[in-house]
Symmetry: C2
Subunit: 239 residues, 2 copies
Amino acid sequence: MTAVETLTYPDPADALDLASRATDRDALVTLVGTCTVEYEGRAASSLGLGDRHVMLKPDGAALVHTDEGQQPVNWQPPGCEHSVSVDDGSLVVRSTRSSPEESLEVVFEMVAHAAAFDVTDSKDLALTGTEADLKDRILDEPALVESGFTPLATERETPAGAVDIYGEDAEGRTTVLELKRRRVGPDAVGQLGRYVDALKRDLHAETEVRGILVAPSVTDRARQLLAEKGLEFVSLEPP
Amino acid sequence: MTAVETLTYPDPADALDLASRATDRDALVTLVGTCTVEYEGRAASSLGLGDRHVMLKPDGAALVHTDEGQQPVNWQPPGCEHSVSVDDGSLVVRSTRSSPEESLEVVFEMVAHAAAFDVTDSKDLALTGTEADLKDRILDEPALVESGFTPLATERETPAGAVDIYGEDAEGRTTVLELKRRRVGPDAVGQLGRYVDALKRDLHAETEVRGILVAPSVTDRARQLLAEKGLEFVSLEPP
DNA sequence: GACTGGATTTCGAGT
DNA sequence: ACTCGAAGTCCAGTC
């Protein structure tokens, strides 16, 4: 973090100067003020006057935050081109991209604060408790699923997609596991069902294929669906 | 937007003063600086030293942004309690909630900028191009799906969940539509299949039930699944 | 509170 | 570029 540049209640011209220089040198820009926001692209939206926090990232991402919610009220993904200008005496931020064609326009009636930050980040997030961790746990100790279960492959391809864990049970029957790190609904059952059906077809006819959903818990509807499709459930959490 | 309060390269004590007063009066707080981040809750994560932008919203949401990506590298959902303190000479931000028990801790090695904003927002976002718009389009002009199609209900409940549009075709056959605003994969076919199966069961035995997926387009795998399940596809986009 | 499905989902991996 | 599925998904609506 080398430089910080800020302006409080700047003129549009001064805010423009700060913002355009900052985006040119790939700094992080924040603008807080009263503005309207228009978006058009995959969908289209219009947002009336209000106080918002606008962040322009050097990778092309743009975020418009209100005082509520974890999600931005409007945004643009990384890879966009930011442009800042003064139109009719108002500071205007445009962020656009092609494929798909999308544009975001923020028009400030008033800028309360403008800032530029030269940030650097190694970004080495270590996350645990994911589905991958659950997979490792099972591969380490397959008996957690069922005594005699033997994993043979992970991410095994089927015509319906890749199976999380592919193996066989104590009797040598083909057994596929679909893993979920948290409580699951009907969608996960559908997924497992597709894999089992595809494998049955692939391995030709009479081969019995067991499908086991491994997750901390399931909803009622999911349990019912499992029963209908002759699939099984084993309760297990990520470590 | 009444007040803006900012500090550049503040002492931890001054930053603490600004931040704690701001959270007390439900202002939006931003802190930019070099920090580490620890999270524990549904999962757990650890993030080493780097420059980040931290936002604390009055509704309890917390966001930690790096210079890259649309998504925050760490966060806390609305409803959390923010607390700011100075520990061992470092500014520390904690954001916690219960059910589920989750905590986020940001420890600043250096604060480059601290700010508080008293923002207000009516938040009247008008969004178009959604699935709801596609639904309206079909209800306005059912022939877009198929000549003779007659919608009878929307969100009709089945044992497998609510069907987007329920109706009958020119021959009086029960027909259910699953709508998607954009290109779809196998999951949407599974959804439609579940509704059709549930209705067949519900309406008792021999009743034929048609299932039509309405979306701009489908992937190959989805098309294959549709064929397997005897379901249909109509290409249509939101207005 | 739990459940269900949409979302301008985003993100990453594989092809 | 496209497909597919995970995600600490978030979020609204409903029960």
